[in-house]
Symmetry: D2
Subunit: 330 residues, 4 copies
Amino acid sequence: MLRIALLGAGRVGRVHARSISANPGAALALVVDPLEDAARSLGDEHGAPWSPDPEDAFGDASIDAVVIGTPTNTHIDMLRRAVAAGKRVLLEKPIDLDLARVDAVWAEIAPRAPFVMVGFNRRFDPSFREIRERVASGEVGTLRALRITSRDPEPPPAAYLAVSGGMFKDMTIHDFDMARFQLGEIAEVSALASDNGLDAFREAGDHAQAVITLRAASGALAVIVNSRSCAYGYDQRLEAFGDAGSLEAGNWTATTVRASGPARTEASGPVLHFFLERYLPAFRAELDAFVEAARADREPPVGFADGRAALALAEAAAESVASGRAVAVP
Amino acid sequence: MLRIALLGAGRVGRVHARSISANPGAALALVVDPLEDAARSLGDEHGAPWSPDPEDAFGDASIDAVVIGTPTNTHIDMLRRAVAAGKRVLLEKPIDLDLARVDAVWAEIAPRAPFVMVGFNRRFDPSFREIRERVASGEVGTLRALRITSRDPEPPPAAYLAVSGGMFKDMTIHDFDMARFQLGEIAEVSALASDNGLDAFREAGDHAQAVITLRAASGALAVIVNSRSCAYGYDQRLEAFGDAGSLEAGNWTATTVRASGPARTEASGPVLHFFLERYLPAFRAELDAFVEAARADREPPVGFADGRAALALAEAAAESVASGRAVAVP
Amino acid sequence: MLRIALLGAGRVGRVHARSISANPGAALALVVDPLEDAARSLGDEHGAPWSPDPEDAFGDASIDAVVIGTPTNTHIDMLRRAVAAGKRVLLEKPIDLDLARVDAVWAEIAPRAPFVMVGFNRRFDPSFREIRERVASGEVGTLRALRITSRDPEPPPAAYLAVSGGMFKDMTIHDFDMARFQLGEIAEVSALASDNGLDAFREAGDHAQAVITLRAASGALAVIVNSRSCAYGYDQRLEAFGDAGSLEAGNWTATTVRASGPARTEASGPVLHFFLERYLPAFRAELDAFVEAARADREPPVGFADGRAALALAEAAAESVASGRAVAVP
Amino acid sequence: MLRIALLGAGRVGRVHARSISANPGAALALVVDPLEDAARSLGDEHGAPWSPDPEDAFGDASIDAVVIGTPTNTHIDMLRRAVAAGKRVLLEKPIDLDLARVDAVWAEIAPRAPFVMVGFNRRFDPSFREIRERVASGEVGTLRALRITSRDPEPPPAAYLAVSGGMFKDMTIHDFDMARFQLGEIAEVSALASDNGLDAFREAGDHAQAVITLRAASGALAVIVNSRSCAYGYDQRLEAFGDAGSLEAGNWTATTVRASGPARTEASGPVLHFFLERYLPAFRAELDAFVEAARADREPPVGFADGRAALALAEAAAESVASGRAVAVP
């Protein structure tokens, strides 16, 4: 049994709490949040104790692992303390908003050979995973091109925009990781972006949409089409195109019902609205993979280096937008 | 060059005229219709002479063949005279509304071994044809069940209902032929029908919808789902289900555009509205098959016996509705 | 908290156990199965006691309700004893294989006004439910026709065939209930069936496939297309066709991946294989509805009369096959 | 009646010949090709005279218009002579491979206010046209992003690669025009390309695939995904994404048949193989639009300036690939 403390009782924390409860090899040992009501309520829901102080997790020798779902600007502190306390870690993305800080914390903790898994849940999405496996099996021949469509249903509130680190580090980071998951290392990044003339994005110096083109070390190309809003829901699609064919993952709807009438036929309902619905099975599978690797003392399936690499791509994309040049990834 | 006289310048006659003009081995030699304006206008459009009198076709030795697209109650007279004049014949369905008359005319003309093709254009639809060929190739294993969906966009006018011979002989006859085309001979028919409580159908003693179940001599079952109206257009689908899989033909839309918005996703436009649009390629291919067989002196690809068999199924279905019994087909 | 004893630790029992554990208002109080290993193993998995004797459920005053998932031939005995003990009951379908016995037990227990819900889980399928709600909202106008496609992936073993009660009572009974769920009461049944020339079915006097046509009291028609085997998985579809349009529920696949290559495009994976996968959410929602109604002291959402009506339709269908006549439903 | 001389009896010339014959307001007055066999054969097929010498077209006062479907390196000479002779012109794309030469010929012929239509047939594709009209009607709100997928089934032969002018001018030029058709003027181009490590492309200094990102003057972004080969046929899709929803045009298959079996479900046939099949209705509609505008003395629906603009985008894309910079379009 892996005894897990959950740090952060917000939206994503609640998802993790449910996944922990559902995993027969894991137990939710503690819920930590400085907002005591949130910690208590989530703990009660799962029959787990709670605390406002993460030290109650780090200092408890009976706790094997922590899931860090706190605000991004606390990630590095939590990570450092968790590793120092010998805990296994599942850390929400992004590791941090600054690549230099990420490298610094790694230099510090690496000597301990820590078990740190980064929360790129989409790697555990059954459709994206099936594509990777079928590509690996040779079904589409040499993989030449990847296309990722990734559009949020609604822009975040202005207050969040201000601290999000920008679209590339906050949202596209999932897509950068997906590109690496499907294609391996990325060599070059080129991006165009737009604020769509909207004040909220302009004032935050951020983007309402972007097209990011990548060249993988393998020579394959990838394109990511991003938007911060999408009228028909959470648009999450992927195409892997190779010499012998292609594989495409489409969107999910809540039911299979299709309507036909005088004006239109075979109309499906809107796609699942946002990540809590769309990627719920992926979050569950991610937590299961974390528990399994932690209990078996194996490498985490998504390592710290993966979190760092996605952040480096986000910085390269931002530099490409600023300079108008394709940027080599070091 | 096969010189063809077209008898009947109505809706289906105009379709045939265009097919004849487009066939490089055929020539439209004469357009005949007692409505002189209709005959003249269609003849002019195709640079062909016209006449109100079918005798101008039968008596013209330079004319090789006639296409009979006149009202159903004239079919037998036209057919008898055309065969007597030694013409090859493409006859629109149904041959007649009365099986006894059909058998009588055949007894009369059979000694001449006439070339008579019956206009079941759907046999030439590329999708239905592909299904038949793939079934024949063994792709779905033993064929066990056939499902035909056949719904007209709008009911015919009351005046037409009165002379149509009823839904089974007027509309379902195409589906009976399709069942034979895909399954071979039919041994048993059972049908339920409804006038949907609508005066127009009740007064005509006719049906607004029906479900007809067939048992083929092979043992396979088939079901035909019919409706005289359909809000989303002309619903024409077919499923062939066998031990090793199934093949389904869906509806056609005018373009491939699909719309997504807040209330629905991947909505296609309405399906093609009626038979002139939906089966235009089938009518063209039918005429081409007629010309090819006639010129090569081969058997017509859809014979008189096929026209008779579909009519016999229509009579059996009507008897099943009346008696509440499954009816054996003689 | 509704304390539930589960009678039957077989395939469907295990599904119910999981649903009970997941429902926050219910507790699995006891697992009963004469096969002690099965009872113990399922009980242990959910941290619940177990027993080989149903009397341990009926005689325990702390138990509020029982879920009866035992073999069909024990249903009536279990039901009688559960009701006598004052338990609320969720009873798997069919109630029994004999309509007379069903009526007899009801005459006996009715005076107690028992809470008996019958396990037609498909009523809780999100897609079928959505169709019913949208039809009720008037979206397709007057409902005229229903089409149910229901094909099992593989035939049951011969040993099961011998005791199944026949396809209509074992398999189609779900579809009969679905027809009533969507259309209301059924007035007339007509059916054709075939053993497909297979020994297993012929020897059991049973069917490999059938087409059943229904006329609802409302005048609408319905057709059920059944097969005991289906190469591409568990084919479960439904179409509701009305004056203003149609609603169709399609099959589920495990992922949204579609493959394209030289021979075919947009090929999806096989459909979910059988009822444990396909209807898992429906089983869960069914149990939740049972718990909710039982705790609120409301009518069960699927009553004993629904179980009886579906059985009456199965008997009528069998009579139609035998007599070749459409059969009125009393 | 618009009397048209066709210059060039190759693949695209034969398509135009058929369109001219089918247009009731046009007549094929002459077929010209230095390959006398090709000219004769095509002329005979349509009952038109033929000649090896274009002067027979330019010098014939009874000829109103010419369709120029000769090799690209003869376009400017043919255009200059046709305009000098007062003919209306439909000119296949690209106008020429060199923007300076294009500007020079225009400076020369512009004073005559010539009627020159450029053959971007895809503007006449029913699906792409429907998208433009529905976007214009406001259906998707402000148009923010366009996605064009354009993949040829097979790479051209090496001999053609050497004279094609490169992928951008030969193939992408259609997509550049489509971007302008849907979005209006383009302000900025950025492109990544790859030869996929294939000798044929490397030796020609050309690309096997590319991703081209555009920023429209309106602020919208567009991305073009190109490949010189595609295992599943001619992949031609388009997505218009706006604030209120999206419109997508998919691929065409020859029939609507979908197959299901143990390994896959709803598999369609391969998409239409290449432009002669896929865009046949578009070529027909293009010729009809040319005839209609020429006869009505209206502006051609696709002008010389459109041909020039697409070429300018191709040059900008090539410059972006070479420099690694986003390139402003003058």
